[in-house]
Subunit: 359 residues, 2 copies
């Protein structure tokens, strides 16, 4: 193979949970095929709670995966492990090109995700986020510091924030929405939370809310603390990000009317069914009074509705526009695996763009 | 408004049929909003059979639309009209940055679409194609002359060919497929031809093939000569483009096993229905013997299949991969309108990229 002519794109990963681990697996798996197209990554640091692993010459993703699968912290890695080095310290002490933010979502400015994002941008690094928090609370502030989002032109001398993984994993909602150039979008509707969708699906088969939640947890498809999901906050954060990125709606979480699914009963689902409707955990952004109305709420929709046709294990989105009456997309929700694919997609896109700009 | 800092991106349009006319309408409609984001187009020539309209200082899209709607040839335009100037002459005599190819699809190297594409690339212009012909017959030859396709890095000093409108109009099939970086795609299945899908839908309601075709023609949803559609060639051309662009399958039209829908009977549809199946005009690309098997054929699929859930007025695609079990997208087929949106999307993407490269 001919030696690629470009220096590797240096990656710092913050968060070695499910998404981070899946990303490390993918990076190990695809590095050869990416190198053929001239894209090379060098993983220079991974930070988690309690410590980090750092090597300017490059960490081996597969070695880290093995360590994590063995239940050991990454900072126990011989030579490269840095016990008690915090993620923010890593950002100050390592030279890199991009931060991948895969820390747990929190909707506060004091969250580690928000602080890391700001620190990376101030260093001029690109940022690829799986964490929804920073964008849900401060989309426009971050857009002032960087070009934002999937498919946005990546410009020289200015960092970019990409966030495919912060909407609905493998489903490229934002780039789909932005592909509707020249159309006036009238509404964006989505089923953005897999846990809520699965629970309502199980309840349609006869389970009550608690036992459906229990089964979803047993399948590994609901968190031990499922509140962000079943109370609607996860879907609302995604809706805010999509509305800002696609519609430039300039909204934040407090603009969303949110109702979780815990009040839905088996009788409600059955009554809907007899009217040829289905109750789905709908996230909806529609034009209203010159602005936008944002709602997340379990909603009865006709069974002919594109989102009513989804399987309970799917996520989906439907755009309505003046020119293209309907554009719909859906995917099987596989949690961390899909999110890792979305992060990888962003990393490749930014690395390629930076390669061209350097040419 | 601040004057945009970039020179306009100069466009030559070949073909002033339905797609060309819709594109002119869209260009007139969106020019102000695009200018706000720094993208300006200057339409320097439009060519159709019998003549052209040319103006290096820029034609007014809305004036051309009015002329066409009045049933008059564009070369009758005062001052700017050039009776009997052929499209190939326009390419030799005009300075521009991009050719939009919206001439009727023909699957031959002697077609005007193929000759224009080659001529534009040799002049170093970018090419945006609505015409499927050149890509269906010579994808890899064209890829040798230019970077190819939606979302591909647009590099300095080398023209690009973009072709969102050559697959399924508003549905960004190729960019969806390419978003699955890091996944191994096992199959791509699609309903790529709107006429065939609508006819089978009407037949499910009881019509025979001929009367369904007649109704589709009356609705303006089938061509007077519907053979490219109902015989499977249109879907096959799209399948070839998708297989090459997403899978690098290196196939051409002759590699597709093609069967049209004219042999399907109402009895076949009913029999499928009793088995909880639907017959859809399926285009399918699957791994087989180390290569790819490409088939276009009316196929009975289970009613739970994502493509069986489509409305007869929809087009759709479903990807199956090792990492993301399923990624599905669909849109309402609106013919020329959707194609024009797809052309505009490509034009904006290339113009933005060229703007950044010039920076």
């Amino acid at each position: 193979m001919i030696k690629p002519p470009h220096p590797p794109y240096r990656v710092v990963l913050a968060g070695a949970g499910k998404v981070g681990t899946c990303l490390l697996e993918r990076l190990a798996h695809v590095s050869d095929s990416l190198a053929e197209s001239g894209v090379r990554f060098r993983l220079v640091a991974v930070a988690e709670l309690g410590g980090a692993a750092v090597d300017p010459a490059g960490l081996e993703p597969e070695v880290l995966v093995k360590l994590i699968r063995d239940g050991r912290p990454i900072w126990t890695l011989p030579r490269q492990g840095q016990p008690s080095m915090q993620a923010l310290d890593v950002l100050q002490n390592v030279e890199a090109d991009v931060l991948v933010g895969a820390t747990p979502t929190e909707h506060t400015r004091s969250s580690i995700g928000f602080r890391l994002t700001c620190a990376a941008l101030h260093r001029g690094w690109d940022v690829v986020l799986a964490d929804k928090g920073p964008l849900a609370i401060a989309y426009h502030e971050l857009a002032g510091l960087a070009s934002v989002g999937p498919n946005y032109p990546i410009t020289p001398g200015r960092p970019t924030i990409q966030f495919s993984a912060a909407t609905a994993g493998a489903l490229p909602i934002v780039s789909l929405g932005r592909s509707l150039v020249g159309c006036t979008i009238q509404s964006i509707e989505g089923v953005f939370n897999g846990t809520s969708h699965l629970i309502l699906g199980l309840m349609e088969l006869g389970a009550d809310f608690q036992s459906a939640l229990g089964e979803a947890q047993q399948q590994g498809k609901a968190e031990t603390d499922p509140r962000l999901d079943v109370d609607g906050w996860d879907a609302a954060a995604k809706l805010v990000i999509v509305a800002n990125a696609v519609l430039d709606a300039r909204v934040s979480l407090s603009d969303v009317a949110i109702e979780g699914i815990s009040g839905v009963t088996a009788a409600d689902l059955k009554a809907a069914r007899t009217r040829e409707h289905r109750i789905i955990p709908l996230a909806q952004c529609r034009r209203a009074n010159g602005g936008w109305s944002l709602v997340v709420r379990p909603t009865a929709v006709p069974i002919r509705h594109a989102l009513a046709k989804l399987d309970p294990t799917d996520l989906g989105v439907a755009f309505t526009t003046d020119q293209v009456p309907r554009l719909v997309a859906s995917t099987t929700e596989t949690g961390a695996g899909s999110a890792a694919i979305a992060v990888l997609r962003d990393l490749v896109a930014v690395a390629q763009a930076r390669m061209i700009i350097r040419n």
